[in-house]
């Protein structure tokens, strides 16, 4: 019985059911499970072999599942998904100007009395890497947001992903454009402070995009729920 109750409580917590409602449902279920067990019916048999689905269906039927904005956590999930792709691209872009890279791929250049190996990456290559990073960031953001909202049993998950899928390319394009403009104003410097600031600017645009799309998705979901006569805001 304890396992079934714990599973239900976990589900209601993930669904963000209000504590008072969750406590009331748990108390009702506990009393009924105790009565069923005294009649020889196990808790598992009583609620079925899927306590999570049972708890979800019950809360949904009572209209206790709220469509949360969860803006901070959703944006954080998106940023988390962005990081691997963006960092990889930045490392490559920054690494191309390193001494080690110049030693391998550079050409000798006379500087005063000494000859040093130098390598200046072409702009098209840097732009390509930035674009590749944005693509990875896009896919990564979608994947992590999807996983996070799925774990939270979020009511607006599908709509959020749909909005992100369609809207993020524009946000990504805006982030790339602004990052390029920023880099251009700094002569495409690969100085760590410039590259870092560029990443912050691009991330800020991306974050704003995710936040705006999430807000729009939740708002639309709430309207759809009201029209369908179910759920609570």
């Amino acid at each position: 019985m304890k396992e079934v109750l714990a599973a239900c409580r976990r589900t209601w917590r993930r669904l963000d059911v209000r504590r008072t409602d969750a406590r009331a449902m748990a108390a009702e279920l506990e009393a009924d499970l105790a009565a069923a067990e005294s009649d020889g019916t196990s808790a598992g048999a009583y609620v079925g072999n899927d306590p999570h689905g049972f708890a979800l269906e019950w809360a949904s039927a009572r209209g206790l599942i709220r469509t949360r904005v969860a803006l901070v956590s959703t944006v954080l999930a998106g940023v988390l998904g962005v990081i691997p792709g963006a960092v990889c691209a930045l490392f490559v872009a920054y690494g191309m100007s390193s001494e080690a890279f110049a030693e391998t791929f550079g050409s000798p250049e006379q500087l005063g009395d000494t000859s040093v190996m130098t390598y200046t990456p072409p702009s098209w290559l840097l732009l390509g890497l930035y674009t590749l990073g944005a693509v990875f960031a896009y896919v990564g953001a979608l994947a992590v947001v999807s996983a996070w909202l799925s774990w939270r049993l979020d009511q607006a998950r599908s709509r959020t992903l749909h909005y992100l899928l369609l809207g993020m390319p524009f946000g990504t394009a805006a982030a790339i454009f602004i990052a390029i403009v920023f880099a251009w104003t700094r002569d495409f410097s690969t100085d760590i402070s410039v590259v870092g600031a560029d990443a912050v600017v691009a991330t800020a645009v991306f974050v704003s995009c995710i936040a705006a799309l999430r807000l729009a998705a939740v708002r639309r979901e709430r309207i759809a729920l009201v029209l369908a006569g179910g759920g609570s805001g």
Binding site: A36, A45, W58, S60
Partner: protein, 118 residues
């Protein structure tokens, strides 16, 4: 626990469609808590219903204002949540009974051996 045979599945599906009516009927005269309702259903031959499935149905009935919950002291334990039928629920039950009778008559006519032999 019942084995999930095709016949059992079909019966369960049928009952799920009318479970709200049955729940209203078993608490019409005397309020009950969830498990007590399953006992009453079972006493009338509906033990095939998965007990847990009554809670979402009760939730919908409560949300639609067809039943109302209230707390009642229990023997030795904390107060239990009981459900009773509201006036709106009585009207709904009466309407659903008529719908069920019409549907049952129609299905009986279709499934009648005399009809199928023709």
């Amino acid at each position: 626990m019942h084995r999930m045979t095709p016949a059992y599945e079909r019966t369960s599906q049928l009952l799920r469609g009318v479970l709200d009516v049955c729940l209203l009927a078993v608490i019409l005269d005397e309020p009950a808590y969830g498990y007590e309702m399953t006992r009453r259903l079972s006493a009338r031959g509906l033990d095939v219903v998965g007990e847990g499935s009554i809670y979402p149905v009760l939730g919908r009935l409560e949300r639609d204002g067809l039943v109302e919950p209230f707390q009642q002291p229990s023997d030795g334990g904390p107060p239990r949540k009981y459900y009773r039928v509201t006036p709106r629920g009585r009207s709904a039950l009466e309407r659903w009974r008529q719908e069920w009778n019409q549907t049952r008559s129609a299905i009986d006519a279709v499934l009648s051996p005399r009809e199928t032999e023709r």
